[in-house]
C-alpha cells in the first residue's frame, strides 16, 4: 500500500509557493513540445531540465522520483521493443522470417523510431511528474474554478478528494487488522480476506456518505462550497525561468529537426 502519496509530496514540495498557472504551463508546455518535436533530442533535453527542477528546486527525494519511473519505463521498454522488431526499414541489421508473410527485423529506421518514442515517453513522464509533484490538487481546484468548470463537478471533485483519504485510511486499518490475524497467509485465505475488505470498504464509504450529509446539514449547507479565492502572485524569477525554459526548449525543437540517433 502507498504510505506516502504523490499528493503528500506535492503538499510539501519546494515549489509549492510558486503560482499554479506557471507550474501548469511549464508541464503542459513541455508535453506539447515533446509531441511536436521530430527528434529525440528535445524530449531528452526537457526530461533533464525538469528532472533537475524536480530534484533540486522542488527537493523531491531522488529515490521516490526514480520509483515513479519504474512502471512507465517498463511499459516503454516493452512497446519500444515491439516497435523496433515490427516496423521495417531499408538498412537491415538482423532479420528473422517466422511466417511467409510476417518477419521480425531490426533496422536503422526502426531503432531510430523506437528510441524517439522512448525519449518522448521519458519527456512526457517527467512533465507529468513535474505537475503532480509540485502542484497539489487543492491548488488545481482553484484553477478549475477560474477556468469555469461547472460548480457541481468541482464540488463533487472536492468531496471525492477529501473522502479518498478518509476511506483509504479505513481500508488500511482493516487491511492491517487482517494481516495481523494472518488473513493473507494462504491463497484461499487471501481471496476470502480481500472480499471481506471490499465489503467493509463499501460499508465504510456508505457510512462516510451519510456522515458527510449530516455534517453539511449541521453547518447550514445550501448548495455552496467555499473555495480558496486567491492564488499566489506571479513572481518575477519563476516567470523568467518559465519563459527561458520554454523558449530554449522551442529552439532545441527547431534546431534538432530531423536529427536521429543513428
Amino acid at each position: 500500500m502507498f504510505e506516502e502519496l504523490l499528493e503528500d509530496i506535492a503538499q510539501k514540495n519546494g515549489l509549492r509557493e510558486v503560482n499554479t498557472y506557471l507550474k501548469l504551463i511549464t508541464g503542459l508546455g513541455a508535453i506539447l513540445l515533446c509531441l511536436v518535436s521530430t527528434s529525440y533530442i528535445p524530449p531528452l533535453f526537457i526530461a533533464l531540465v525538469l528532472t533537475g527542477a524536480i530534484l533540486f528546486l522542488a527537493r523531491v527525494d531522488a529515490k521516490t522520483y526514480a520509483e515513479l519511473f519504474i512502471v512507465p519505463i517498463w511499459f516503454a521498454v516493452m512497446s519500444v521493443a515491439g516497435i523496433i522488431l515490427i516496423s521495417g526499414g531499408h538498412d537491415i541489421f538482423w532479420r528473422w522470417d517466422i511466417l511467409p508473410s510476417f518477419s521480425l527485423s531490426i533496422t536503422r529506421e526502426s531503432i531510430n523510431q523506437g528510441m524517439f518514442v522512448f525519449f518522448r515517453v521519458i519527456g512526457g513522464m517527467s512533465a507529468v511528474c513535474f505537475i503532480s509533484l509540485t502542484t497539489p490538487m487543492t491548488d488545481i481546484f482553484t484553477v478549475f474554478r477560474q477556468c469555469r468548470v461547472p460548480e457541481i463537478v468541482l464540488d463533487l471533485m472536492m468531496i471525492i478528494y477529501r473522502t479518498i483519504f478518509i476511506i483509504l485510511d479505513q481500508v488500511l486499518q482493516i487491511y492491517n487488522a487482517q494481516v495481523m490475524r494472518l488473513g493473507y497467509s494462504t491463497w484461499h485465505e487471501s481471496i476470502h480476506s480481500f472480499s471481506s475488505l471490499c465489503g467493509a470498504a463499501f460499508i465504510a464509504s456508505w457510512n462516510s456518505g451519510e456522515d458527510l450529509i449530516r455534517a453539511m446539514d449541521a453547518r447550514c449547507y445550501d448548495g455552496k462550497f467555499a473555495i480558496m479565492g486567491e492564488t499566489r502572485p506571479v513572481e518575477y524569477i519563476p516567470l523568467v525561468a518559465l519563459c527561458a525554459f520554454l523558449s530554449i526548449s522551442f529552439t532545441v525543437v527547431i534546431f534538432s529537426e530531423g536529427i536521429t540517433l543513428m
Binding site: 499528493e7 503528500d8 503538499q11 497539489p136 490538487m137 487543492t138 481546484f141 472536492m158 468531496i159 478528494y161 477529501r162 483519504f165 478518509i166 485510511d169 462516510s208 456522515d211 458527510l212 449530516r214 455534517a215 453539511m216 446539514d217 449541521a218 453547518r219 447550514c220 449547507y221 445550501d222 448548495g223 455552496k224 462550497f225 467555499a226 473555495i227 480558496m228 479565492g229
Partner: protein, 400 residues
C-alpha cells in the same frame, strides 16, 4: 440570574425499530453556562445533543431555544444551526473540504456571507483556535488535536451563541485534552454557552458550572459538580468514578479531620482546606507576586528582557494566542493549563510567577486571585507588566 437559552420539556425519542434512547427528559440551560453531560456509553448523550441543533426531532415533548419552540422547517433549522454550533466527536466526519480554509469557510459561505466577510470570519475563527497559517493545509496532514481545532473553527466561523461538543477530548493526549478544555473556557469567557458530553469525570469536574448525569436515556442527577459527582450511589449507577479530589476530601472528612470551606474543585482548593487545618504554620512565608503580561500590548523583546532579569520565575500561558506568543518568543512555559491556580500555589510557596495572557483574560486573573484572597485571607499581589522601561533595576510593576 441570567436568561434561559435552551429548555427541554419532557423529551422522548425512540430510534426506528430500536429501544427508547431518550425517555422523558426536562431541563434548562442558561446563557453563558458551562454544562457537562456525563454518563456511560449508550446513555443517550449524543442523541440528546443532536436534538439541540435539530438534527434529531424528538418524538414527543418540546425543545425551546431562546424561548421559542424549535421549528423543523428548513428555514428555521438554518437559523437554529447558525446559532447552535455542533462539533462532532470525530473531526474526520465533520471536516468536509480539501483545505482548512475551505472547511472553515463552509458555514459562512452557505450563510451567504460576501467573499470578504467569509475571509474575515475564517481568519478570526482560525485565530481563536490558534491555527493561523494553516489555511492551505489539507486536513489529512493534521494531527488529531489540530483536526479537532479545525472542526471547532468551522463552527466558530458561523459565530454561534451556543457551542455543543460531543466528547471534545476523545482521542487526544492529556495535554491536548487540557488545551481543548482551556479553549472551551476561553470561548465561554467570550460569552458563549458551552455544552459538552463526556465520560471523563476528572476533566468535567473542575470545568463545569453544572453537571447533568445521564443513565439509560434519563437524567439521574442535575446539579453543581460537587454535588452531582459527590454522591457515591449516583456515581456508581452511572458507571462513573468519583473525582480523586472529591474522594480524598470525603475520606479525610470521614476520619474526622476538621476540613473547612467548600468542597475542593481544584488542587488549590484542596491545599487551602488542608492548610486551614494547620493554620499556624502556613502563613509564615511572605506570598510571592503574580505578574500578568498582556501579550496583545507587550513587545516581545521587552518581555524576553524582563524574563532574563528574573531567573527561576515560573511562566504560565493562558489562552491560545498567549501560548503562540510564548512559542514564537521561545519562552519555556511551566504551566499551560489551570494557570491561575498553579500560580497562586507558587505564590503561596513564596515564589514569583508570570502569567502571559490576552486582554480579555487579564481581568479574570485578578478576579480569581481576589476571590481566593477573600476566602483565605492571604493577600497575593497581582501586577501588570508594562512596557515602560524603569530606570531602576527592580523591574516594572503597577497595581491594576
Amino acid at each position: 440570574m441570567s436568561s434561559i437559552i435552551l429548555e427541554a420539556r419532557d423529551i422522548r425519542y425512540r430510534y426506528p425499530r430500536g429501544m427508547e434512547a431518550i425517555g422523558g427528559i426536562s431541563f434548562h440551560i442558561r446563557r453563558r453556562e458551562k454544562i457537562a453531560l456525563v454518563g456511560p456509553n449508550g446513555a443517550g448523550k449524543s442523541t440528546l445533543l443532536s436534538m439541540f441543533n435539530g438534527m434529531i426531532r424528538p418524538d414527543s415533548g418540546i425543545m425551546f431555544f431562546d424561548n421559542q419552540p424549535i421549528q423543523y422547517d428548513n428555514t428555521s433549522l438554518r437559523i437554529l444551526r447558525k446559532r447552535v454550533g455542533f462539533v462532532l466527536q470525530n473531526p474526520d466526519r465533520q471536516i468536509i473540504a480539501p483545505t482548512v480554509y475551505q472547511d472553515v469557510a463552509f458555514g459562512p459561505t452557505n450563510l451567504r456571507y460576501t467573499e470578504n466577510e467569509v475571509k474575515n470570519a475564517v481568519t478570526l475563527a482560525l485565530q481563536q483556535v490558534g491555527l493561523d497559517g494553516f489555511e492551505r493545509r489539507p486536513p489529512h496532514h493534521l494531527s488529531s488535536g489540530e483536526k479537532k481545532r479545525v472542526a471547532i473553527a468551522g463552527v466558530l466561523a458561523m459565530d454561534p451563541d451556543m457551542l455543543v461538543f460531543d466528547e471534545p477530548t476523545s482521542g487526544l493526549d492529556p495535554a491536548g485534552s487540557e488545551d481543548i478544555m482551556e479553549l472551551l473556557d476561553e470561548l465561554n469567557n467570550e460569552g458563549k454557552t458551552v455544552i459538552i458530553s463526556t465520560h471523563d469525570v476528572e476533566l468535567a469536574y473542575p470545568w463545569a458550572d453544572r453537571a447533568i448525569l445521564m443513565l439509560k436515556g434519563e437524567i439521574l442527577r442535575e446539579d453543581i459538580p460537587e454535588v452531582a459527582f459527590g454522591n457515591p450511589e449516583f456515581v456508581r449507577k452511572a458507571h462513573l468514578s468519583i473525582p480523586t479530589l472529591l474522594e480524598l476530601h470525603m475520606e479525610l472528612e470521614k476520619r474526622g479531620l476538621p476540613l473547612q470551606g467548600k468542597k475542593p474543585r481544584t488542587v488549590l482548593d484542596m491545599m487551602h482546606s488542608i492548610e486551614m487545618m494547620f493554620e499556624n504554620t502556613c502563613c509564615h512565608i511572605r506570598p510571592g507576586m503574580i505578574t500578568v503580561c498582556n501579550v496583545d500590548q507587550e513587545s516581545r523583546d521587552y518581555l524576553s528582557m524582563w524574563l532574563s532579569r528574573q531567573p527561576g520565575i515560573s511562566v504560565g500561558a493562558m489562552g491560545t494566542r498567549a501560548k503562540q506568543c510564548a512559542e514564537n518568543s521561545q519562552i519555556r512555559l511551566d504551566f499551560t493549563y489551570g494557570v491561575i491556580d498553579k500560580c497562586i500555589l507558587k505564590a503561596l510557596l513564596g515564589e514569583d510567577s508570570l502569567i502571559m495572557t490576552t486582554e480579555s483574560m487579564v481581568q479574570r486573573v485578578n478576579q480569581r486571585v481576589e476571590a481566593y484572597g477573600k476566602e483565605s485571607g492571604i493577600h497575593i499581589t497581582v501586577s501588570l507588566l508594562e512596557a515602560v522601561i524603569f530606570p531602576d533595576n527592580r523591574g516594572p510593576g503597577g497595581h491594576i
